[in-house]
Amino acid sequence: MSQRIHDTRRSKQIRRDRLGRGLIALAAGLVLAIMLLIIVDLVAGGASVLSWEFLTAMPRARLTAGGILPCIVGTIAVTLVTTLFAIPFGLATAIYLNEYARDTWGTRLIRLAIRNLAGVPSIVYGIFGVALFVNGLSLGTSIISAGLTLGLLTIPWTITASEEALRSVPPAWREASLALGASRWKTIRSIVLPRAVPGIITGGILGITRAAGETAPLLFTGAAFSLPGLPQSVFEPFMALPYHIYVLATQHEKINAVRPLAYGTALVLIGMILALSLVAIIIRARLRKRHGGASL
């Protein structure tokens, strides 16, 4: 018995086990460290410029003073267009794929297309946006062109998120509804969607936060270096937080002087994205509660 307990082979196994666990924990810890490092760096570099004026005033003196209000407004407006486009579009596609389509070569092709779209570099979306929205549909360089371009980029994510949410609804509920004589669409509306909505919203918002921070697709579709006033409609160019960071960090004539402003803008962008994620979490928690606790 004692021999077995002190078996060297076994203790070697235990040592290995500990080593493995340690490495895994290290990797996980590193993620946290990187995240913290980014935030610390941003705060150190940009906290000094944060003020009420920074958030609510127009930029002055060739972007070296004043605030970033037009960038905040522009990013919010573009993100709204993206949301209104990408979530319904993604949801409709997901409903088709998950609830109606059968496994044919056609649907397999659609799925392949979605996977590949998710991997297309964002600058390519930018160029495509110019061709389709700016020139093709004559929407010009504008909030709507940029929002739709970001929408295209987000759609693979909203489809995937919606499909996952739909798949998590037990098939037994669909069967029960159909067996009572409900049509497929009625079943989706009354049984499937109410249950899937929290997942759809959460996944959708996460996709959108990703789009909100994109710069490349904005370059040619509507983001401006500097504008005299706020845009008056979605058909006008705009300033955006990510593009503003890019401008301040690389394109400005006094790069060192505006560095704190670039950091401050980055802080605001990160803050907005965190706030969006928080909203997603809250919505999900609320809806989960309303729909009878844990899923089956």
């Binding site: 496994d103 067996a179 009572l180 004589g181 009354s190 109410p194 249950r195 009878g292 606790g293």
Partner: protein, 267 residues
């Protein structure tokens, strides 16, 4: 709505004067795999007909052919006919929605919707356009009484159905199915996931319900088939080996295979 035919004086060799369901040379395929072979039988009204047989024998597929739930599976195909009332149900013109209103179904695992107890019951009637609050309340009480659940849940009709016990959930599912006033109730092993006491209650309920509905039940439990059914069909490898009164099947079967199965020698 499908209608039942008028009684006739036609001679009926199987002693069934007025079948609720008539099956003629029915075969069913998953892709090229034929899982039901040329089944012909007549299921009488207001009786309990049990479908028994080993796993994979086709009894569930047959049951789900009666309300065309197999339509949900891609690549299925049928031959022959199943007549419910006076309508062949496997035609392109079949109104599946009406069919499923006439032929209700209770599943193996209780599957109440993640809604309140009352909403589970009213889901079907609402589909059929009943909106009146008072009428819906009546239906809720009436059907819950029929399944013996009213006294247990009358104070919490607005509570989530998922909070009920397994046996209660299954009775709620039966209530939900009968709330649309079907003529036939299909039950796919409705008690197999329940404890003996809950099973007992479901069996008693089935015996009460046959006064008003024609019941077709798939069961793996021989004793259950013997206790509650009037007729039994023994399925094996996609064929109906024997179909007769339950008494005959269990005491004096004509086929050796039937006897082997009901006495537990194989299966």
């Amino acid at each position: 709505m499908l209608t039942m035919p008028k009684p006739s004086d036609q001679a009926a060799p199987d002693g069934i004067q007025l079948p609720a369901i008539t099956v003629r040379n029915f075969s069913f395929y998953y892709g090229s795999n034929r899982v039901l072979h040329d089944i012909s039988l007549r299921i009488p009204r207001n009786e309990v007909t049990a479908l028994i047989g080993p796993s994979g024998c086709g009894k569930s597929t047959f049951l789900r052919s009666i309300n065309r739930m197999n339509d949900l599976i891609a690549g299925t195909r049928s031959e022959g006919e199943i007549i419910v009332g006076d309508a062949e149900i496997h035609t392109p013109a079949t109104d599946i929605v009406s069919l499923r209103r006439t032929v209700g179904m209770v599943f193996q695992r209780s599957n109440p919707f993640p809604k309140s107890i009352a909403e589970n019951i009213t889901y079907g009637p609402r589909l059929w356009g009943i909106r009146d609050r008072w009428q819906l309340d009546q239906i809720v009480e009436e059907t819950l009484r029929q399944v013996g659940l009213w006294e247990e849940v009358r104070d919490r009709l607005g509570a989530s159905a998922l909070a009920l016990s397994g046996g209660q959930q299954q009775r709620l599912c039966i209530a939900r199915a009968i709330a649309v006033k079907p003529e036939i109730l299909l039950m796919d092993e409705p008690a197999s996931a329940l404890d003996p006491i809950a099973t007992r209650r479901i069996e008693e309920l089935i015996l009460e319900l046959k006064e008003r509905f024609t019941i077709v039940i798939v069961t793996h439990n021989m004793q259950q088939a013997a206790r509650i059914s009037d007729r039994t069909a023994f399925f094996y490898l996609g064929e109906v080996v024997e179909y007769d009164t339950t008494r005959t099947i269990f005491t004096n079967p004509r086929q050796a295979r039937t006897e082997d199965y009901v006495t537990g020698r194989f299966g």
